[in-house]
Amino acid sequence: MRFSVRLSVVGVVFVTMFGVVGLRLWFIQVAEGPAIAQAASEQTWIQQSIAAPRGNIFDRNGTPLATSRVVPAVVVDRTFVQPEQRDGLLDHLSTLLSVDRATLEEMYEEAGVNGKFLVTTVSTELAHRVNESLDVLPGVEVAKVPERIYLTGPTLAHVMGHLGLPDAADLEADPDIDPSVRIGKLGVEKSYEEYLRGTPGQLEYRVRLGEIIATRPSVDPVQGSSLNLTIDLDLQELVEMALAEGIDLSNRVKEADRAAGEEVFHETERGAIVVLDAQNFEVLAAASYPNFDPQLFVAGIDTTTFAELNDAQAFNNLTTNGLYPPASTFKAITYTVIEEEDLPFPTEIEGIDAANRQVHCDGVLELPTLADGSPQEKFDWYNPGDLGWLGIHEALELSCNIFFWSAALGTYQAYRAPHPNETVIQDWSTELGYGSPTGIDLSSEAAGIIPTRELFEEWAAYQIENPDEPPRLDPSRLEIASPWLGGDLMDFAIGQGAFTATPMQVAVSYAALVNGGRVMEPRVVREIVSPDGVVTPVQAPVRHTVAISPETTRSLLADLGRVVASGTASKAFADFGPGLDNVGGKTGTGQSTATRDNHAWFVGVAPLDDPKYVVVVLIDEGGSGGRIAAPVGRHILQYIMGNEPTPIEAGEDAD
């Protein structure tokens, strides 16, 4: 081959190479050009989401509880960060803002090329320091972002709830939410999240040399809807104060008891109070202690503080999640069932006059051997005194266990399964709201337990199958025909045994008892007000109405009045002031385990002539209901009824 021919071959190869490149140019510039051009044009516009301020929250009188303010935040725009500047920038920011380096790196990578992310909100002072260092912080800017501000601190914490970054489950549930914007995690912040969140705005702009050179018409963020709560802030503050004083009182009494040689297990640390409107089921006050400051969560709570609060169960809303045996407060329900269902009393037991429904309250109830061969049981009532023969009215007034035991024993004996009435007391309880969530508009709620033969048999079967798990029933029960005994129903009738309920359930049941049987779902939000002012009332849904005769209601109200006038709460109510005859209540002392102090209960109702308020006080391991809880309830009822509340001092040591 001649040299020139070889050069020609080389020339042909070269021309082919030019041709390949030229063809490819034609392909991406002409064939695909328009589509690529569109994408390129969009790319030079930076879309920024503008966080919407969350909706405001007001109490029922329009007092602001939570609003939003504008705070400085450090934002990193990766458009302006050269790859080689990345590490230096992250190091700098980590030190300057005290943010974990690894966390920062994760945020950075997640934002993507040309992405933008908010590192943290900062104090004004820190914002100044960041601004001064901007020349060593490429891509960093200090932006203004809305931030939640709680105006009342820890007051009403559990109803308000708190914020937190969405977790994987939240993001899966709603793919539209911005993973960097905090959402409600508890309380109304969570249950009304969709209303409070608002609509983020959109800003599109072009940046060159760190300056915005063009903007496109932007969408302004729309603040979330406001909530008007059912809560009365003044009442709430009084209730929280009273709760704290009640806990304090309990500890003072325990100290005295301990000095007197009595057995005391724990310091009193927890408690809950609910004030419910018995007519429309609006929650007027709901306090749970220990509490927390929701503001801690706004910019991210530090792990130490979180762990401390979590250990103290500060995030547990005891009004809806605290499960306790309702104890003698439940006698009002048993009372109603006795009246409405005419429960049979045992006929062959000494000290019970079945015909006249009278019981000899001398402290001990001795039973003959039970029909099914269960062991003979003897129930001790700790009251050593002999109260004499009591009818239903005095029995409630003095909280006589023997009376209500008798009714339960009679029921147990007369209505053995398969008799449809075996669960008559439990059925009433279910109807009145026990054993299932009340449906309140808060983020989570416990159901509680109503013990029945069915449930006990289920437990027994489970216990036999899983011998390694902690037992719920005494092992001796597994050996007899049925683990459900008469004593269980008797315990249930006085609110003890395996029975548990939340303070909110107790409040709901009393509200139904005194309003003629109407059971509704409690609400903490009255109205939702959209940003353009449209008010949507939140109606508490009516679940059902339990048939209770007006006579029974009247009788119960009168006897609740006797409790505070001359019964177990009379000492606590001694200095109630004018109108004592128009308030009523019931004390309760709940036993849980052998190593815990008793839980103190008081349920107040007012006014008796037209019941509107139900006040439930629970002091966890507080001691006697009449001694500890009743004075707290009295203090709150004094305020509600327009009396000057008198100091919370120990009442009578009574159930």
Partner: protein, 389 residues
């Protein structure tokens, strides 16, 4: 003294011969366009980059003029010396710590001289062309003139390329190493290698590539860059981002481009990383469209065509092979660089001759073309210039 004598001789020989004006015009056109494109890509930082490149262009043109006027046959005798100097410089590069410019240890390709970073690998390209041309062109020592190079010469040629290519590959700079391989293949073919020799070499090359891929001798970022070509969705955010942006810039230029210094361009917003160096063609493609791109391709084609013409008209085979090697070098840069910006070649870091920002590269290209022009000046004078074919 001999140099001066030779210079005088050039003067004599030049009578009637002129510099290749088409070649000069093409170089000037591309250099001017390059300055404009560099400015368009770096306007946010002012005229600094462009002014710096202007100095290199000026220096390059001087180099071009000087080497045009040196008799290219002078080099044949000092090839071992040139090779030695280049080898030393390539080794010196390794004395400097790799400059970490993105956190990861990256390539060290230059010797920092303060005012200027000397990149010996660029000059090694020219040296390799000279060495191969010297080796493959018949010399007086060849007793029997042969139509094809002996196997021994083929082996030596491979060695001449392999040593610097390996050093440069270790920098690492895969692209430049591949330039050497391409020049070797083209020159062997032009020098009359038999089909068996060519096929043997290509076969060895293919086996080599297979070994490199099989035993993972490519560094991670090299493999990743290859993956971007196969499937850009693998990692469009980081390594492939540059490539994606490059294609987007060029594609959006469409037929006529968006116009010089237009606001609505990725060039203006500096969205293409390394645009003024390896990705300078994106500035052309976006602002001047397919039309501008084809003009640039055509001008490169003219340069390559002129170099082949010089090769065809050289007074000896040494000069011819210098011109053909230079053509191969330019061709490969253009093909790989523009191919990279449009997504048909991997990102290898080969700049675009005369357009890309970079001093060593510009001067080395000017040097190569200056030598080629000297071949043209000293071609056998003929009454009418015989064109290729």
């Amino acid at each position: 003294m001999t140099v001066l004598a030779r210079l005088r001789e050039v003067g004599v020989v030049r009578k009637g011969n002129r510099s290749d004006r088409v070649l000069v015009c093409a170089i000037l056109f591309l250099s001017a366009l390059g300055l404009l494109m560099i400015y368009s890509a770096t306007r946010s930082t002012g005229t600094f980059s462009m002014e710096r490149q202007m100095i290199f262009v000026a220096a390059g043109l001087i180099v071009y003029a000087v080497f045009t006027n040196i008799d290219y046959r002078e080099y044949r005798g000092i090839i071992p010396m040139i090779a030695a100097v280049i080898m030393i410089l390539l080794l010196v590069v390794f004395l400097f710590e790799p400059v970490s410019d993105s956190g990861v240890g990256r390539a060290q390709r230059w010797i920092p001289l303060g005012f200027f970073n000397l990149q010996p690998s660029e000059f090694a390209k020219v040296a390799v062309i000279l060495a191969l041309a010297g080796l493959l062109a018949p010399s007086n020592r060849d007793e029997v003139p042969q139509r094809s190079p002996t196997w021994k010469k083929v082996g030596l040629a491979v060695l001449v390329v392999a040593v610097p290519a390996t050093l440069i590959y270790r920098q690492p700079d895969l692209g430049t190493s591949l330039v050497f391989v391409f020049i070797l293949l083209v020159l062997l073919f032009a020098a009359g290698a038999t089909w068996r020799q060519m096929l043997t070499l290509i076969g060895v090359g293919v086996i080599g590539v297979v070994i490199v891929l099989r035993f993972g001798l490519l560094s991670d970022y090299q493999t990743d860059r290859l993956m971007c070509l196969v499937d850009p969705a693998v990692d469009p955010q980081d390594l492939c981002y540059q490539l994606a942006q490059s294609k987007r810039a060029i594609g959006s230029g469409q037929l006529f481009g968006k116009g010089l210094f237009q606001e609505d361009t990725l060039t203006h917003f500096e969205y293409v990383p390394e645009q003024q160096t390896d990705f300078i063609f994106t500035a052309v493609g976006e602002q001047f469209g397919l039309l501008g791109g084809l003009v640039v391709l055509t001008v490169f084609a003219v340069i390559v065509w002129r170099l082949l013409v010089i090769g065809a008209n050289s007074r000896d085979r040494f000069g011819a092979l210098i011109a053909v090697g230079t053509a191969a070098m330019i061709m490969f840069h253009v093909f790989v660089n523009i191919g990279m910006t449009v997504g048909i070649m991997p990102v290898t870091g080969l700049p675009l001759p005369f357009l890309s920002q970079g001093g060593s590269f510009y001067i080395a290209m000017a040097l190569a073309l200056g030598i080629a022009n000297s071949v043209w000046l000293l071609r056998t004078p003929v009454p009418s210039e015989n064109q290729l074919l």
